[in-house]
Symmetry: D2
Subunit: 387 residues, 4 copies
């Protein structure tokens, strides 16, 4: 057993930390941000900075221009990147691109990689992942998929509606999950500028950290050639799991960084701000919040590290990543909520970055499987001893 980091990893951690502090945090109040996230132009500047710093898309394989980070290494680097809401954008490790890169490295053809993955890894394009649907379609229960792919000669015609499609506006291409006539599911790759795809609108969401926001997409007999099927026909649900287990965990890593940031901001405040004759932090009621934040941050980090290590050992990690997802999403939420409380009125204004983290983070207890779905999944595995 060993909790230490290799000198190489410590170096990468420190470089990332310095990059975030010096190159990213100063842009946090940049005006090129709105209700639907950082504008493309701001994203381009952030990506350019990371490229110069040699930190762009570090999780991609070296062949594609990344660092080929292991899951444990990602745990370290992504937490550092998450220390700023703009960090994951800068490093090109944000959802959904991060997970899409991971999935495509695993199952895309060389031609698909050259066409779609390479520019994505290079930070020149963005992508989206079109799975979630409005009622009565696929939400927490992916089996309820309504979007259909019908064979038409050598091609497929895809029709259906998707929503909560993160990054849809401005994405170069989409990975589309659709149902086959036999009830199985398949993933398809498609450029977003095709006539069969229509972005109906952007949704107004509590978060504002994703470039491109969250869109509602309509597919109307979108024609996809057989060559653009991602992986094998009928393996969509399996690939969704391949994508999701690590994708959930990278969310945990990034949000842990955000929670640590919020805690640092709150800590600085309660050290300084006086009330009732002494600094806020010296009131036990506030001190207990600091202690509880420490407990939550520490155990979240350990849970992430453990699951990352299990993935690195070759585990599929579904059980472990469910455990980490539930635990971390709830623990970091408690942290950020306490930070808001410690900051008092300022916690609910843009006077500090904490309100922004509070807004951005709430959805994490919902997406990639709400806590309730993961708890039930964990329970069933425990009951059947299949983990």
């Amino acid at each position: 057993m060993d909790f230490s980091l290799s000198p190489k990893l410590v170096d990468l951690q420190q470089r990332t930390r310095a990059f975030i502090a010096e190159q990213v945090i100063p842009l946090e109040n940049d005006a090129r941000q709105g209700a639907h996230g950082p504008a493309e132009e701001l994203r381009d500047e952030l990506v350019a900075r990371a490229r110069r710093a040699g930190l762009l898309t570090p999780h991609a394989s070296p062949e594609l221009g990344g660092m080929g980070l292991s899951h444990v290494e990602k745990a370290i680097v992504f937490e550092e990147a998450g220390y700023s809401p703009l960090g994951p954008v800068a490093l090109n490790i944000h959802a959904p691109d991060e997970g899409n890169i991971h999935l495509m490295e695993a199952v895309a053809t060389e031609a698909q990689k050259a066409r779609w993955l390479q520019p994505l890894v290079a930070g020149h394009t963005r992508s989206c992942f079109a799975m979630t649907e409005p009622a009565p379609g696929a939400g927490a229960d992916p089996a309820m998929l309504q979007t259909m792919a019908v064979k038409d000669g050598d091609d497929y015609l895809i029709s259906g509606t998707k929503w909560f499609i993160t990054g849809a506006e401005g994405a170069r291409f989409a990975i589309i999950m659709a149902k086959m006539e036999d009830g199985s599911a398949t993933m398809f790759l498609a450029d977003m500028d095709q006539p069969g795809i229509r972005l109906e609108r952007l949704m107004d969401s509590l978060d504002a950290c994703f470039t491109g926001g969250h869109g509602v997409l309509h597919f109307d007999r979108l024609r996809v050639p057989a060559n653009d099927v991602l992986g094998e026909i009928g393996k969509g649900f399996r690939y969704a799991q391949v994508r999701l287990a690590p994708a959930r965990l990278t969310h945990c890593m990034r949000w842990l960084g955000q929670a640590r940031r919020a805690n640092d901001v709150a800590l600085a405040y309660v050290r300084r701000r006086q009330a009732f004759g002494k600094p806020l932090g010296e009131h036990e009621g506030v001190g207990f919040m600091l202690a509880d934040n420490e407990l939550d941050l520490h155990t979240s980090r350990l849970s992430i590290w453990h699951t990352a290590w299990a993935l690195d050992q070759g585990s599929r990690g579904n059980f472990e990543s469910s455990v980490s997802k539930v635990f971390v999403s709830e623990a970091v939420w408690r942290v950020v909520d306490r930070c808001v409380q410690m900051l008092g009125g300022q916690g609910v204004t843009s006077e500090t970055v904490v309100m922004r983290i509070f807004r951005d983070m709430r959805a994490f207890r919902i997406y990639d499987g709400p806590s309730e779905v993961h708890r039930w999944s964990i329970a069933r595995k425990i009951l059947s001893e299949k983990h």
Copy 2:
């Protein structure tokens, strides 16, 4: 002991409920709302509707044109009004005007009432309450007041900075809390259009339910004649308590209405939306959230009713209102957070009104005394048996 409502009160409850459903909720998506709350024009329309419905400013005394509602009656009516985020604006029972009206009825002179209170009760003007200050001034600890009032002939000259001043932009007048040379505090009335008052900026806040938002105010040798002192010199802290005990409780009433609304929206959704083979609500994990919401809403209502009744019996209600404030602010927050969770992705978007309630409500655990200050106040009273 009797938990029933008088027929007259039931009638008022039903009338308010119908008014909110028919006249207010249809305006919830009106475009005249922004980051700093409903625009004046929208407010005017809402107030006009309440006036026509005979429901405007119902807590003011009949002499001033209100209904002279008791605290218990307010508990019923304000909860109904709170069922829409626009309801309290419509009925003219929103903070800070509601509490200002209450305070001024108690301590203002007839001349002050004619000049400032009458138009306020009539819904023609708005007011603000200038107490909170940036560090190192008065926040959770009012004794840290920095804004000074210096005697100058028969007048007072007030200088200092205030922030989080709700409704400051557009307010006709302010009640200003300032420190005297002897260390005591006094409240002053002042029109907002005077040269000594400057609105520096509006703060970006998580909530957006208050017309006029939250402003930063500077007072620079603002001249206030002795006639415009509110109540007696040196009694500012006492008056703040007179204002706060019931004001905290009316917050509880309104937020209870909002939480009930959120719960109704979530309930309708989980009855309808299918996942894993049955409606969401028939999953125990979701059903338990419905049950917990019921527990929280029910006990919150009982706590409010009890404190309202105690105030009606003549209690100063400081202990009771602290108990209600902590309990209700935390219970309704749990309710709304569960509603977000039940709604899944839609919970964190403007697809329903719940996200708006979630945003607006978070500050309630902070303002009018954060939970920590009230817990400590309750504890000290228990330790000294002075309640």
Copy 3:
């Protein structure tokens, strides 16, 4: 709406309070108590004291010698009685007798009342309620009843096993729940000294507040004449509900008294005991526990009062009593757990009465329907709007 108590009720409250303080608490360390509760001899002495004080079996009807207390009146008196673990024994208002009296008043024949109920109300005998069964029988799910009643001439022959039968040892008679050949259930009355009834053993339980402990009973072709059927054939499940809705609530009342007692003991301690330079109670972390206890006690009381009032108005009270049962059982447990914590090492020893309350109370979250069953019952009623 009115939260005041009538002068008559205040008088009864004060008399009960004084009785508990003067006549019952001094016996709390009486040696005649063991792992299975207060011995019969101690019970007899306590009952005699209550009889002399005119406080025995106050919930029974005046015709039977009680005071005919309404549910609201019970809320006041039972809380006071619960202030000592021996109080409910003294007043003859403990489970299961209290609920059995309530049920038999409602459905027993005059002959049954004369034979069994009258001596029970007079405090001369005890009874038990034989419903719960070991797996695969009736536990949280009453429909799984295994004990069978088979018609044999004019009689019934009952066979089966029951456990967790509170007060079985020493009870004069039992109310037995058994399944009929048509799948319905019926309640039977039977003296405990009959050959067909065998008390296998007493169970070692965490609590020790019930005279007679909790027994395992075997019925082997127990012969019950038709005259000893309680109420009508086939209405067992309905009667169980008639018994349970108020019985759950009287548990809440008594446990609220115990929680108040624990809190008073802890409060006295933290006022007195010094640590780190001041009394424990003046540390915020401890003060917050006092405040949270106040919140939990206060809202528990309001919930009980409201449900009691609803029952007095004629409501069946199933929904309300489920709400109160879940809320109060969890709230008072939090209170007692905090009291243990405030008392430090002494909290987990017999140095104070709190450990005893802690031990006795844990089962309350389980019996008369575990929290999980009530939450689900509440949820289903909300989903179907049938409450």
Copy 4:
């Protein structure tokens, strides 16, 4: 980073697991146990079994006959031992002996080791640690020490009262913490059979897992020669920290084992027991408890491992062990409380081992520093950045 265990450690883990299953659990219902713990005779038999299995006192150094386990190795072995309430007794790793052995290895003289430590490590004797005092003495705040050691020639005369002295009855010797005339504190070694030591009584406690229970001790001019001072004069408080940081952690290890046991018992039950048409475990409300137990057990284990690793790296570990102590003591309590709930009525009886674990465990949130003291200690270190 590496979460794997060495093959040697896995072997030791498996051997310990098998020993507990085969040699210890069968004795759990042995009659030689009472309100004050396993009798000496039962302890002797357990120790003899561990000796034969080569598992006795594994944390002691090889020179003294132990295995010289590192902290990480202890984490693995002690958790396994804790799987039975009798396991720590068998392996001679229970409090207070475990911590006393650790401390004496660090600071005792060779003569002291030969006289007191060697027989303790060999399992032939027991010891106690006399620090805690009744009010107004040392409890959570060690600085309030009242027991005095006064120089008398070359000896010291110790007078004072201690309570909650675990294992006092039957202990061969005590480590006594006493205050010097200069206000510092010193530790003394003393045989328990001396005239100056009187065991007043055993305390009735909720737990019953420590041989010798918890005693009240009086020292009346107990004469201790200078040779029997443990370590240096005046370093008592420092040694208490040396003893406590790892001692807290070994409590975490053992209790984690107990919580895992409780969870296994509850899991087996909810797999088997039917209610409302399916096994209990397949009800989401119960399944969620299984999932939450998994989260709590998993993160507790990770926290223990991390602190153990930090201690092995040479850290003093005060901050880390406070974090683990608070987190684990609260997490395992939640686990055991949920197990009680899942077991229903059986959870609060001796039908399973869970009630016993529930009773034994409650004190863990109090001893070795209540949660509140550790939270405050953690907060102060965070505020001062000294960790």
